[in-house]
Assembly symmetry: C2
Homo-oligomer: 702 residues x 2
């Protein structure tokens, strides 16, 4: 419960409310009919529930969609995008009738699935099922951590930062494994401000869900430690009643349970009261057809000849939602002002975080690593960098999917984010703690990281082996699509992980993740490149990044000595690490652990009188963003002899090294053996680079 | 229960049994110590459980690892590979002491994680957590379907094809979402022959699992419809007792419950009785160190100065397991012979399926589609092909992750694989049915498909939107690593899916999946290529394939007319669809829905006097397997002007079209709008191909 929430008891539900709901049920059918395709069913049957949330339950302000005190709403069942568009239209977030009528059309504000950053009022892009519901756990994580940073001492429910996260989820969301992972963590973390309405309509694309979905969902959520409630609009198969009072009461009960997340099972009939297609798959994902649209309007008591009909009086009323919450908003504003006055440092922090600015001088904290031929693993350098950044960047936090010690994702001395009674001998806990423990739940981790980042104020990272990025790829892609600055720490980045063998060795992963548009892949070559990689990633808040780190030690290059360039070139994505006099005969391009091979190959080639430039290319995405002149200065078009070296498939390197180029690569799965054996047996060696360089020079001259 | 199972009551557990268990506990520590790394803890503590399975419970024959009547064993906790290696050693599957001592070394039979096809007796590669447990559902699906094909009328437990699937799973397996998906389906399907032992040791890599795993796992499995049992070797924190009799009794009870899968929660102490490191993460994934190994041996009553010690007497005993099961085996053989005699047709089918042969003349059933400028979607052609193949290939079966109607994965008229009481108005069910319903569980589907294929006799396929291949990537990669011939039907393969927008539109997927070694990606250009694609996929049983299909209609080319080559070229991966007289000026290479653009561009270019060859390239992997001469005949090295056209990122095309080549591609996410709008706005058009051809010709001449 929170001091600033609108009252729900007694629920005000007047004629205007009912007319609004009736209007948008018909409008959902009209919009899909006009588009010719779409998902009308849930938009029709869940209209009262969504309306209840946006008009009665949630604390929000359509004129200030980014208000830090707002409740969050996630439409996990993203295919039913009209469910949120119609509420944004009613509440006055900037959508008008024309926008609803432009559903699913080029350049409209109402795409097929809701897209954050595209339509005001949408908090997260949804559509890939499960992502919204799983990310909701991240939203709730973030709200607790943010409260801890800003207002930790406030009594429960009294802080301006206390708010709820509401989710509408469908059967598909409940079936996806990503939500099982996140749901288990939500129960474990006792996220009392998370309230999920499960639209239990028993219909999905293959019609009745009984064909594949007979588990006891409520019992499963209880097993996760959730609070569960049931609201049955079907009355057990009796007369269907859209009992918004009962739903409001359930929401009240959910809010009263502050120690557990709540799942409200809402039994509905999809498409109700559509006369012939309700309760069938035919209304889930297709236009109703004009006869059925008419039948729906008739059942709703509307003029069957009109489309997109809503009375001005109704719209004026629904758009007064902020005014109707004015008393609560005033109380919130007063509390916020009082908090600012009492907590000037935290208020300054909030202002900085809201502006997405970094603190002055923060980069001074970045470690510098001394030259060391033996060196350290980049995962270790990453861990040291995180620990160094801990005091200066309170917004940075994260953890691992049960690989903390391997991923080096723990900031030394920081408490775990957990309920104190759940701390262990290894991990000291704090409800506002900083170290995240995802368990062995990579996909859930990905979605939770996205939720944290989208909640707005903090910057999350999460680690696993690079191999298991595949388990979380759905979330990674969504982060890229959303431009969510989640940070994925992926260690054990090649066959260099050794004995665990091919199930754990990435081979295709570098290119498979570079393939995702808007995702930055950053694979530093040594400890100092790792620190600079973190800097580059942190300074960029417009898209996600994957930081690719070695298990094995890598030499720390002598920066500024022996011809080695400083590591700040990392920020440009690729840079000349070691140059030659004049035009090079060949350019050796390496990433990560293979840059050292290029360095050694260069020496061998030099002894043969061949001038080789070594380019370290930690991030091809960052390099692609540099001006053409810079890129030309690193990889001059005139130098056709080029060799790439990377312990993975060559795939995209062909486009960089060109027809005369050669790639030292690995085109098959790895094997279980010590790393040095694998590199030797698989031919990922300095000698192979030398041989490839000779070949490439010959090809370029041919 | 099955007629042919060894008796478990009373359990024979003599001194030799106990000495064998004691020996392998020490040997597990020795092997990891010698390797310097590995996972000893679970191998030590679960030794009695694994021994019980291999020596007392399971029906198997070390001299005949492929025996169709065997029980199956899946070590889902693959990191504890010694758990199975030591049983294979004891039972006599071909592993000797030298192999155990070569754990995790180059070319050894004992890699870090168990690999099917590499070590005799391993049924599935495990290591990526959850895959084994999830695939076990597939094993059990397969056993039921195979029984339905071979011996449907036999009373329960009396068929030679009735057997059990045993799984050892760890905490990580239980946390992964893929097992939630598969577990829900296992309960739904009432898989009474699936028995899972969950090693509830409360330790994972981050030490006590309490830090992230507090859900009630048993209750969750009950919610899935599982039978659950608890065997507590910790005696609630009292004296630790490896009570194999209690575990055997639980297994008996599990077998007695034939209407539900069983989860046996086995409470253990990891590494017991290692004196200092038991019950800690330190014994999970690291060598114990010599002092602790000595302490372990002392606790076991063994000579602390010896390594890899086992008495000949013990080994002789354990290797007599088949002899000790001789009576049951004889009974099985008799039953099998009787079955063969009574069911000659089914016996012939079994012989064919076992030999992985296809029936003579099966390709006659493949449909031919008439030329049609409007054409049909390749997903529709795929559905028609499946229906046509249904009567001739009984081993072929599959379904969809709740997208049957969209993926066109249903063979017309075939019953659903489900318990009859779970059939719906839309899907008629049969316990031995053919149409699979995975629900909205892509990752579980992938693992289940792999399990079905690995079980051995049938050939499974499963569909979803290509976009959601990302959700199942972990399973897809494992299929490729295993060489498991699962068939992934991925439809809605580009922005051509239209209005559902960027969350549902693949852009990077073609290259991201081509990137996986040993996975064939096949993207037919029209209906006839689709039928040939199915032929090529079905004829290849050595690795998985992804069949990439369009949502939208594609013209059916006039094969053998107007210069169009026949569609059998599909089997070669790429072929000249339309040629020119003499050497072409430019080669236009397309895949799938974009081949039609190349065809149209060729006409425009011809009008300008430019001779363009059109190459249809449905599978670059198949093409790569052709002889060099064939590849040269399709893409002559001398023709440098080349254009690729594919509605996705260009990535790997650079290596095919070369420096002078051009790629018509899509380098960013899609959008929500009708397909034709998207192709036009994104420049995936015949005009773009024409322009690129002109550019490429100029570049080749420069």
């Amino acid at each position: 419960m929170s001091t600033f929430d609108p009252a729900l008891t007694p629920l005000e539900w007047n004629d205007l409310d009912q007319r609004a709901v009736t209007a948008i049920k018909a409008m959902a059918a009209d919009a899909v009919e006009k588009a010719g395709n779409g998902h009308p069913g849930t938009a029709i049957s869940l209209a009262p529930a969504a309306y209840l949330l946006f008009q009665k339950v949630m604390r929000h302000d359509p004129s200030d969609a980014g208000w830090v005190g707002r409740d969050r709403f996630i439409l996990s069942a993203g295919h039913s995008s009209l469910t949120i568009y119609l509420q944004l239209f009613l509440a006055g977030y900037g959508l008008e009738l024309d926008d609803i009528a432009a559903l699913r059309q080029w350049n409209s504000k109402t795409p097929g699935h809701p897209e954050v950053g595209h339509t005001t009022g949408v908090e997260i892009t949804t559509g890939p099922l499960g992502q919204g519901l799983a990310a909701a756990t991240g939203f709730a994580f973030a709200s607790r951590r943010e409260r801890g940073l800003l207002d930790p001492e406030a009594a429960a429910g009294t802080s301006p930062f206390d708010h709820h996260v509401y989710v509408i989820a469908g059967d598909g969301d409940l079936q996806e494994g990503v939500t099982s992972e996140a749901g288990s963590l939500a129960g474990h973390q006792e996220l009392g401000n998370l309230i999920v309405i499960w639209d239990d309509n028993k219909i999905s694309i293959e019609d009745q869900t009984d064909i594949s979905f007979s588990e006891d969902v409520v019992k499963r959520y209880e097993a996760y430690g959730w609070h569960t409630l049931h609201v049955d609009w079907t009355n057990g198969g009796g007369e269907y009643t859209e009992d918004v009072v009962a739903l409001a009461a359930a929401i009240e009960a959910a809010k009263a349970e502050t120690g557990k997340p709540t799942l409200i099972r809402l039994s509905t009939i999809i498409g109700w009261p559509s006369p012939k297609k309700q309760d069938t798959y035919a209304i889930h994902g297709s236009a109703l057809g004009s006869a059925e649209v008419e039948g729906l309007k008739e059942a709703l008591g509307l003029d069957v000849t009109k489309s997109f009909q809503i009375d001005d009086e109704v719209l004026k009323y629904t758009r007064s939602v902020a005014e109707r919450q004015a008393a609560q908003r005033t109380a919130w504003d007063e509390a916020f002002t009082a908090w600012q006055a009492a907590n000037p440092e935290n208020a300054a922090l909030l202002a900085r975080l809201t502006a997405k600015e970094l603190p002055a001088g923060w980069t001074d904290a970045l470690p510098e690593f001394p030259a060391d031929p033996k060196g350290i693993a980049t995962r270790v350098a990453s861990g040291k960098t995180l620990t160094a950044l801990a005091p200066v960047l309170p917004e940075l936090w994260g953890g691992s999917a049960d690989l903390a010690g391997s991923n080096n994702t723990t900031m030394d001395g920081e408490p775990s984010f957990t309920q104190p009674h759940r701390q262990t001998r290894t991990w000291k806990g704090d409800v506002y703690g900083r170290t995240l423990h995802f368990g062995i739940r990579e996909h859930g981790m990905g979605a939770i990281l996205n939720g944290i980042a989208l909640h707005g104020l903090t910057r999350p990272y999460g680690g696993t082996f690079f191999q298991f990025a595949d388990y979380m790829r759905g979330s990674v892609r969504l982060a890229a699509l959303d431009g969510t600055p989640s940070i994925f720490v992926w260690t054990h980045d090649s066959v260099g992980l050794g004995e665990d063998g091919p199930t754990h060795q990435p081979v295709e992963h570098l290119w498979a993740y570079r393939a995702i548009p808007n995702l930055d892949i950053v694979r530093p070559a040594d400890a100092n490149e790792t620190a600079w990689a973190w800097r580059g990633i942190i300074e960029n808040t417009s898209n996600p990044a994957g930081l690719i780190l070695s298990r094995q030690n890598l030499p720390t290059f002598p920066r500024g000595e022996e011809g080695f360039a400083p590591a700040d070139g990392v920020l440009k994505g690729a840079y000349t690490l070691l140059d030659t006099d004049g035009t090079p005969d060949v350019i050796l391009i390496g990433t990560g652990s293979e840059v050292q091979l290029a360095v050694r190959a260069r020496e061998t080639l030099a002894a043969e009188g061949i001038k080789a430039r070594v380019v370290s290319a930690p991030s091809l995405e960052w390099f692609a963003r540099q001006p053409a002149e810079y890129r030309e200065s690193v990889l001059p078009a005139g130098v056709k002899a080029r060799v790439s070296v990377e312990a993975g498939i060559a795939l995209g390197w062909a486009g960089i090294v060109g027809d005369a180029g050669r790639s030292v690569s690995l085109e098959h799965f790895g094997a279980s053996a010590p790393a040095e054996t694998l590199f030797r047996e698989f031919g990922i060696t300095a000698e192979a680079v030398v041989a490839a360089a000779r070949e490439s020079i010959a090809a370029a001259q041919a």
